[in-house]
């Protein structure tokens, strides 16, 4: 049963102004993040998923800008907030965990200062002492011993720092955490521990997590639903079991086939044809058609909409468009 969405992204378009012209890093992207779910957002590097993640918090910097769409978070349109109101949302209601824990903590600030600063940025009336105590309690829950809070970031290991990043996101009980490639720089064992922690936190705090990653394995392990992005557009979204069991979009199919599998013996790994497109001059029609083994005439000229294939599973592909898809093919 799909719960009421926490965050509805509607027709979001993000553009980069470059001297060579505007580059759309996300085009007409719509999806929901449901309460207390873990949604995995996957795609190749350069497909716009990190930009999208930043844009959800309006954290994108010039030359990127949001040119259209709505960000309905918990009943409010974030696009309509002033910069100062938005600042109050960041950290307090939506937290973010970055890719590299080695570089996402201020090297000249103690861990405890990171925590108290965050708390006091949102609740200026909290005394330093209260903030410290809250930080210590939170850290304890995340498995950070309180004496380690006095340390500087460079004195901690990567996994520990990623815990600190999480605790920073949770310091004010954020409802949603956007985690941008949080495990990429961790080794396998630390990664597994970290994913356990995420699962636990969801249970304990009722946390919603948007996990942006290029790592299909992580998604399979932890996510409830998956959204697949290709060349700035969303091509498929659905339940993790559905998508892994029967991927619909040819890109998703290729993506899953190119993942190495331990059971896979002898058979060589599938490699997708071609290269991801240049977003400055993206192909017309469906963006995947130059690489698609099933490309039809219609795919060259018309871009498919996201449509339900069964129940909660959506894809943007002419192959599954029962009406227009076939007509288009005939016309061609």
């Amino acid at each position: 049963m799909p719960a009421e969405p926490l965050f509805s992204i509607r027709n979001l378009t993000v553009e980069y102004a470059t001297r060579a012209g505007a580059v759309k890093a996300a085009e007409d992207v719509s999806f929901d993040i449901r309460r207390e779910e873990i949604l995995g957002l996957v795609g190749e590097s350069g497909c716009g998923k990190s930009t999208l993640g930043k844009a959800l918090m309006r954290l994108h910097r010039t030359p990127a800008r949001i040119t259209g769409g709505e960000l309905l978070f918990d009943g409010r349109d974030l696009m309509k907030l002033t910069e100062d109101e938005m600042r109050a949302v960041r950290g307090a209601e939506i937290g973010m965990v970055f890719q590299d824990p080695m570089t996402s903590l201020n090297p000249v600030q103690r861990i405890i200062e990171h925590l108290t600063e965050t708390v006091r940025a949102h609740e200026p009336r909290t005394t330093d002492q209260e903030a410290r105590e809250r930080a210590a309690v939170l850290a304890e829950k995340l498995g950070i011993r309180s004496e380690r809070l006095k340390e500087y970031p460079h004195q901690m290991s990567g996994g520990m720092r990623q815990r600190v990043m999480i605790s920073l996101a949770l310091a004010l009980r954020a409802k949603l955490v956007i985690a941008d490639e949080p495990t990429t720089s961790l080794d396998v064992i630390v990664e597994a521990k970290f994913l356990d922690l995420l699962r636990e936190l969801r249970r304990e705090f009722g946390l919603t997590i948007l996990l942006i990653t290029h790592n299909i394995g992580v998604v399979a392990e932890i996510a409830d639903r998956v959204a697949v992005m290709y060349a700035a557009r969303l091509v498929e979204i659905g339940d993790v079991q559905d998508i892994f069991a029967s991927p619909k979009h040819p890109y998703t199919q290729g993506l899953l086939r190119s993942v190495p599998n331990i059971q896979l013996d002898g058979e060589s790994l599938y490699k997708m044809e071609g290269m991801p497109p240049n977003l400055l001059h993206p192909p017309r029609g469906c963006r995947f058609h130059p690489r698609c083994p099933f490309a039809m005439e219609i795919c060259r000229d018309y871009s498919p909409e996201l449509q339900a294939v069964d129940g909660d599973h959506f894809t943007a592909c002419w192959l599954y468009h029962k009406t227009t898809g076939k007509e288009g093919a005939k016309n061609g």
């Binding site: 954290l59 600042r87 949302v89 950290g91 973010m96 970055f98 570089t103 201020n106 965050t118 990043m165």
Partner: protein
């Protein structure tokens, strides 16, 4: 005790205490760092002093002949050579020279009143200090605020203005800039004095303790003297400080821009920290670490600028003394002044490195 050794003590004792404290409290890494730094500073003074010595002795030109002038007789020259120890083998002279530097006893000046050089420097050194300290503070203030402003408004009008400012300031011949200020504020507007450190009449009411007039007048509560000293200080400080600030704006801007692209800045914004705090708290603080090191290297510009500023404003400091001794062909004094400058450079760069190690927790722990 001469004022110069007094001043060296004022600078030296806290520096030594700070070093000792850091050394004892610091980690192994920090201790090693400090030892390495000291290990590098001493050879630097040694190399510079030796360089000056050999330039003075090996390059063609006879100090004694030029000191005596065309009317000097061979006997006089021989006598002077003996008195100055110039008849000894070069290597012995070199040893004596090094010993003089260590003991801060530079002998007597070759010409004029034949006063001990250390006494003459004692009068001059505080003046230089009184000029370069306020000038550095002015330059740092402009440099850090301007650089951070330019970086946070990248590609906006403020950024372009500050970049043009730093290039134009860098291209300003300091001596000309000083003269232009004299022309405008001293001669056209008649607002400020253009020469000297203090009104010579008021000077007589001032009890010299450190020979830094600002401090001396403050200690004794001599307000007219303080006013006069401050008004004399304004133009030289602006001259030297502005010229130095161009480089600082530039360095701060580049480093803050680089820091603003760091992940922890994006992370701080994502936590809802105010933009002002992000730029001036997080980014600037991190950017200052490399900037401090770079500032250490600007000591060269500072002191070279001080020589010219002192000349223009008739400021009786070390720079003015150096130029005056050169015209008098007093090689012993010239050599000593330059050795003194080398000592100063080494001392400042050591202090800067110490501050650096205290600012950066990655060095400290």
């Amino acid at each position: 005790m001469t004022p110069i050794s007094f001043i060296l003590l004022i600078i030296g004792i806290p520096l030594a205490l700070m070093l000792l404290y850091v050394f004892i409290r610091g980690s192994m890494g920090l201790r090693k760092y400090i030892l390495t730094r000291i290990g590098l500073t001493l050879p630097m003074v040694f190399i510079l002093a030796s360089l000056v010595f050999f330039i003075m002795r090996v390059l063609p030109g006879d100090p004694v002949r030029s000191a005596l002038g065309p009317r000097g007789t061979a006997e006089q020259a021989e006598h002077m050579r003996q008195a100055l120890g110039l008849d000894k083998p070069l290597i012995v002279q070199y040893g004596i020279f090094l010993k003089d530097i260590i003991t801060l006893n530079f002998g007597n000046s070759m010409v004029g009143g034949h006063r001990p050089i250390i006494d003459e420097m004692s009068e001059r050194f505080p003046a230089t200090l009184e000029l370069i300290v306020p000038a550095s503070i002015l330059a740092l203030a402009i440099g850090i605020i301007g650089g951070a402003l330019a970086a946070s408004r990248r590609k906006a009008a403020a950024d372009y203005f500050l970049r043009v400012y730093s290039v134009v300031i860098y291209s300003l011949p300091i001596f000309w800039f000083g003269l232009m200020l004299q022309l405008l504020f001293g001669i056209q507007l008649k607002l400020l004095p253009v020469a000297g450190r203090i009104d010579p009449i008021i000077r007589t009411t001032l009890e010299p303790v450190t020979n830094m007039y600002l401090i001396d007048s403050l200690i004794s509560g001599n307000w007219p003297a303080l006013g006069s000293a401050v008004s004399h200080l304004i133009l030289p400080t602006i001259t030297l400080g502005l010229v130095l600030s161009g480089v600082f704006v530039r360095m701060t801007r580049i480093n803050v821009i680089e820091t603003l692209q760091a992940d922890y800045i994006a992370a701080a914004r994502a936590r809802g920290i105010r933009e002002k705090v992000v730029v001036y708290g997080h980014a600037l603080k991190n950017a200052m670490i490399p900037v401090i090191t770079l500032i250490g290297l600007q000591v060269a510009i500072l002191l070279a600028g001080a020589v010219l500023t002192e000349t223009i404003f008739n400021w009786p400091g070390m720079g003015g003394y150096l130029v005056q001794r050169i015209s008098a062909r007093d090689y012993t004094a010239v050599q000593s002044v330059i050795a003194m400058f080398a000592l100063l450079v080494a001392l400042i760069s050591l202090t800067v490195d110490l501050i650096y190690s205290l600012l950066d927790p990655r060095v400290r722990y």
